[in-house]
């Protein structure tokens, strides 16, 4: 199969969906001839025209509201927010409007929008451009939250997000944009709410999201050499969360490590860990569930410090070992 990057996969599915459905269009800052801050919309305005690819002023409240209002009138807009840190200037429209409209209106209206936005650190953009704030969104009833870790998943999940009749926050990761993967040319759907077992194993379950999936896989490979068999699960969507797949795995392995880039304190990993602890898996647990998230610091600029702020392969190896070895 053809290999393309995560960025290309998203570009491709956007083009396919806009061409297939006249209600779909994309809006955002610098998504026209510039091709988006990370090149995700490259070539789109040339191919699809300025009616389908709307370059907007730097007005995040307005453009988010425009997407929501258009959705209420039957459109299916895609909104690109240049950096996920900028949700901070659009939270009212996302949280108080998009997420709640249908419920507040007693089941009237629907808001099918996909907000695509890159999160994560590692690219040297420092504290205001490197956050992982998905936990905020996952806490809000009425929003769905997707976090693809591969080009293949990104393409399929994006279509599911776009076909969903609800607001979906689609978290991309800056460091994943260039990562290649086998991706079919034709359009396909990966349903929201289905976790993916990225690697099977029997000693310990690692639940990892976004870029951490890849670091967990590397850690698993290293540990295999030491005879530790690691299962790596990628939930892919935080809301809805595929609790079943996670719990089944933990029942099998008896151990769980939850790895995420966001600040550990109050991150969504706490939710995942809680769900594991609360359910049937509790009786199968041979060790406490371990969480490994980011340090409680703003992301620093210096590249060495920046790396130290969030889990790296070595940290994941240590976390896995701490549960496997200590509670052998």
């Amino acid at each position: 199969m053809r290999e393309i990057t995560y960025a290309e996969a998203i570009n491709e599915v956007m083009c396919q969906e806009i061409e297939a459905n006249e209600d779909v269009f994309i809006l955002g800052e610098d998504i026209g001839i510039y091709g988006g801050a990370f090149g995700l919309t490259r070539g789109m305005i040339e191919k699809l025209g300025p009616e389908k690819v709307l370059n907007t002023p730097i007005s995040e409240q307005a453009i988010t509201g425009v997407a929501i209002g258009a959705a209420l009138m039957g459109m299916r807009p895609i909104l690109e927010l240049q950096f996920s840190d900028f949700v901070t200037v659009a939270m009212d429209q996302i949280v108080n409007q998009a997420a709640k409209i249908r419920y507040m209106y007693g089941g009237k209206g629907k808001v099918p929008i996909v907000i695509r936005t890159p999160g994560g650190s590692g690219a040297g953009f420092a504290a205001q451009h490197s956050q992982s704030l998905e936990a905020w969104m996952a806490h809000i009833p009425g929003l769905k939250v997707v976090q693809p870790s591969t080009a293949y998943d990104a393409k399929g999940l994006f279509r599911a997000a776009l076909e969903d009749d609800n607001p979906v926050i689609f978290y991309e990761h800056k460091l994943l944009y260039g990562m290649k993967d086998d991706v079919p040319e034709e359009s396909y759907v990966i349903p929201l709410g289905k976790a993916d077992i990225k690697r099977e194993g029997k000693d310990v379950t690692v639940v990892a999201t976004s870029i951490m999936v890849h670091r967990a896989l590397q850690a698993a490979e290293e540990l295999e050499k030491e005879g530790i068999s690691v299962e790596v699960i990628d939930p892919r969507t935080l809301v809805p969360l595929d609790i079943e797949t996670i719990v089944e795995s933990v029942k099998k392995t008896g151990r769980a490590v939850v790895v995420y880039e966001a600040v550990q304190r109050g991150g969504y990993g706490a939710e995942i860990a809680s769900v594991i602890n609360e359910g049937e898996a509790f009786d199968y647990l041979d060790a406490p569930v371990v969480r490994l998230g980011g340090k409680a610091v703003p992301i620093p600029y210096n590249p060495t410090l920046e790396k130290k702020a969030v889990p790296q392969v070595e940290d994941i190896i240590n976390a896995i070992k701490s549960t496997v070895v200590t509670y052998a």
Partner: protein, 351 residues
């Protein structure tokens, strides 16, 4: 440097100045053109709004309404005048003070009252309450509890109209206080840059909760903000329902012609407090009395209709009786409606 806070902020200052010179009022002879039925309907709607609000107030006092409510008594001509030129296809976005907009746009008071009583038959199945009444079928995109929160949404609706050539126009209502929110600025700018079919309709009732707009911003007429966006702005007498109609019509024509948005500022006054408990210390009883006696849009309209011989006192009584009947029925309907089922709690989070 000059001294800080030279204003005597503590003193109760009457901010209502008689006669803003260039404020637009209705043109002479405008009544005849509209025809009697239409005029009677305007009157009916204004009275319906006022009496509805009075009924809501009463229900609230009796403890039947939960939470809070924001009454628009005194502001009837803006809602009625603006919506009078719209069709069912046109849309509005409303505010926390939205009952008048709903009624003027064509919603039925019985479902509104049911909503306020939290009943299953209400516009939002009892889940929204006063600040979230929406009626998408007749083009009411919704009240909004967030000040200026509806403007971005209205722009999105207008974009749809433009993109799909649907021909409808969106009127975004908001208060004077809302014009100091970032969302106002961003929305008007984008609507102007994209020439969206929107009318930004500011009901300048002089206060945002307790704050006089004259202390919160440094310009006399909020319509002047239009110049920041290269669009027309007009200040009108919001107690003159015909003036409101006329200026809204012009803005509507402009929008339909693809010329983009207009900012309308209507000077008006809310007679009651901001919400349920408001001692109104920030304004004088004199100021209130002046507006209520000299600038009551309903009274002025009645007098004009009578003076110009368009309608008789008997006909006015008829209108009032019709209102009373409709409201009595609405209250009865609302009171007799069932509570939402407990199972509805978790319904409708997702479509």
């Amino acid at each position: 440097m000059k001294k800080w806070f030279d204003k005597e902020s503590l003193k109760q200052i009457s901010l209502y100045e008689k006669g803003v010179s260039h404020m637009k009022t209705s043109t002479v002879g405008s009544l005849q053109k509209l025809g009697k039925e239409r005029l009677k309907d305007l009157l009916y709607q204004m009275i319906l709004i006022r009496n509805f609000e009075e009924a809501v107030e009463k229900q609230f006092m009796q403890g039947k309404i939960h939470g809070t409510m924001h009454l628009c008594i005194g502001q009837e001509p803006t809602a009625v005048g603006a919506c009078a030129v719209l069709t069912n296809e046109d849309k509005i976005t409303s505010t926390h003070r939205g009952h008048g907009h709903c009624i003027a746009k064509g919603s039925e008071v019985k479902y509104m009252m049911a909503e306020l009583l939290g009943k299953e038959t209400g516009y939002c199945k009892g889940k929204g309450g006063s600040m979230h009444i929406a009626d998408l079928e007749i083009g009411n995109i919704g009240a909004n509890g967030i000040v200026a929160g509806g403007l971005p949404l209205g722009c999105g609706a207008a974009l749809t109209s433009k993109k799909k050539d649907l021909g409808f126009v969106v009127v975004c209502f908001f208060g004077d206080g809302a014009t100091n929110e970032g969302a106002f600025h961003e929305s008007v700018n984008i609507a102007s840059a994209w020439k969206l079919p929107v009318i930004f309709f500011c009901e300048n009732n002089q206060y945002g909760m307790s704050s006089s707009i004259k202390e919160m911003t440094n310009i006399e007429n909020l319509a002047d903000r239009a110049s920041s966006y290269g669009i027309p702005g007009v200040t009108i007498d919001g107690t003159d329902v015909i003036a409101v109609m006329e200026e809204t019509q012009k803005a509507l024509d402009r929008a339909k012609n693809g010329e983009g948005p207009t900012l309308i500022e209507a000077k008006t006054y809310r007679w009651r407090g901001h919400s349920k408990s408001d001692a109104r210390k920030y304004r004088t009883r004199d100021e209130e009395h002046d507006w209520m006696t000299n600038r009551d849009g309903i009274k002025l309209f009645k007098e004009r209709l009578l003076n110009e011989g368009i309608i008789t006192s008997e006909e006015i009584v008829e209108v009032e009786e019709k209102v009373k009947k409709v409201l009595d029925e609405a209250i009865e309907f609302a009171e007799n409606s069932p509570e939402p089922s407990l199972s509805s709690l978790e319904e409708d989070v997702f479509a």
